[in-house]
């Protein structure tokens, strides 16, 4: 069995169309599924999710230098995708508050078994009741399965701050959302 691929994605500022294509293909095969899954989870619409996914990867292309400097391109992309979709919902106005609670059109995109799917659905339903940072923390913690330390790093907050936010979030949803 071969070893893992290198730590950092080799995204370089596009110099020629061919270089750019190589970069895009690398993004596509490594991260396409994950980013689209995140967009579908939040937007609950395949077409809009694809548009959002394209926005995220376009941003990775345009900000190639900073993206390349990331130790974890996956973390960068998932953070941007989450932020982009939450902002998109918010910018659509008051209806976004009803959006999360609406689940009849949603299809669970998770693969962690019935319990994990229920947790993801529960998290999504509760998102409208908390501020944007708590939304992001809840998604990264409960849906992505990041540790408290990883969530804190993504959000640029301390672990106690993230814990506090997640504990407040858990109070809305019961034991299933307890912070460990």
């Amino acid at each position: 069995m071969t070893g893992p691929t290198p730590l950092a994605l080799k995204v370089v500022p596009p110099r020629t169309p061919e270089d750019r294509r190589v970069v895009l293909r690398d993004l596509y095969v490594k991260y396409g599924g994950s980013v689209r899954e995140r967009c579908r989870y939040l937007l609950k619409d395949a077409s809009r999710a694809e548009d959002a996914m394209q926005d995220v990867f376009a941003r990775a292309l345009v900000h190639g230098d900073s993206f390349r400097a990331e130790a974890s391109p996956l973390t960068w992309l998932m953070k941007i995708a989450t932020h982009h979709c939450l902002n998109q919902l918010r910018s659509e106005g008051a209806a976004w508050r009803r959006w999360f609670a609406r689940d009849e059109a949603a299809r669970s995109e998770g693969h962690g078994g019935a319990e994990a799917m229920e947790t993801r659905d529960l998290v999504r339903k509760l998102l409208a009741r908390v501020d944007a940072e708590t939304q992001a923390a809840a998604i990264h913690y409960h849906v992505d399965g990041m540790t408290l330390e990883e969530v804190a790093a993504v959000l640029g907050r301390s672990v106690p701050t993230v814990r506090k936010r997640l504990e407040a979030f858990a109070e809305l949803g019961g034991e299933e959302l307890n912070v460990r």
Binding site: M1, G3, P4, T5, P6, L7, A8, R21, L24, R25, Y28, V29, K30, Y31, G32, G33, S34, R36, E37, E50, D51, Q54, D55, F57, A58, L61, V62, S72, P73, L74, K79, H83, L86, N87, R90, S91, E92, G93, A94, W96, E109, H111, G112, G113, D131, A132, E133, A136, D144, G145, M146, T147, E150, L155, G156
Partner: protein
Amino acid sequence: MSAHESTWTLRRLHVGELPALEAARVREHAETCEACGAQLRSFSATQAAFEAEVPFERFEAGVERTVERQARAAKEPVTRAAWVRPLKAVAASVFVLVLALPLLYRDGVGTVQPPVMGNRMKGGAGAELRIGGGAEPQRVASLDAPEALRPGERVRLGYTPETHRYVAALSVDVWGEVTPLYPESGDSLAVEPGAGTHWLPESVEFTGVGAERVVLVLTDAPVSMEALSDAARKSFEAAGRNVTLMAPLDVAGEQAQWILLKP
């Protein structure tokens, strides 16, 4: 400690982001752990489904179209009640000229005031209104004197959030007409992640004549644009319906205000 690897660790293994030693350990665990193995396989299945539904050529075309659309959006007109046309000159060069001023507001008699944070002062956050796109070189709008705009000039708003998490901006014209700018409706926007100055999208141009007050607010909790607009109207009325004499809006957080004189 959990007997299983975290979902995030498995996801990073899947995309090849774990260091070699950790990757070997996690992979070995996943080979003997049914739950972790299933989780890893699910990531592969998600990626496979994605590739089956969205061929690379379609993905590539969509991303390239988006890059072009985003570039065009900075150049094409956008219609708003009192603002039109986000345009190129400011948008193109604003990112290389980052000069965040301390967040100050100017009171009704022109005195520069310290940062506003409820009743407290707080340093670090910043805001900037940059003017460009006309015949003159770009410049940063002053907080302590009205700034005259020349024909064709546009503005762009930047902010350094520091500890704040939400940003919003609106403007008030000489008749007290409030125009929510960022966002146009709903609640204030979550600040962009990362340190430094972030620029709100689009550069904008004023239409009409007379003074226009631009207010940028940084807060720790989301604020509805309706509430912000109400606060602006109250401030306008309290100032005797004189937009140049308005006090800071009565909202929590920090705010910066500029007065622009439309050509």
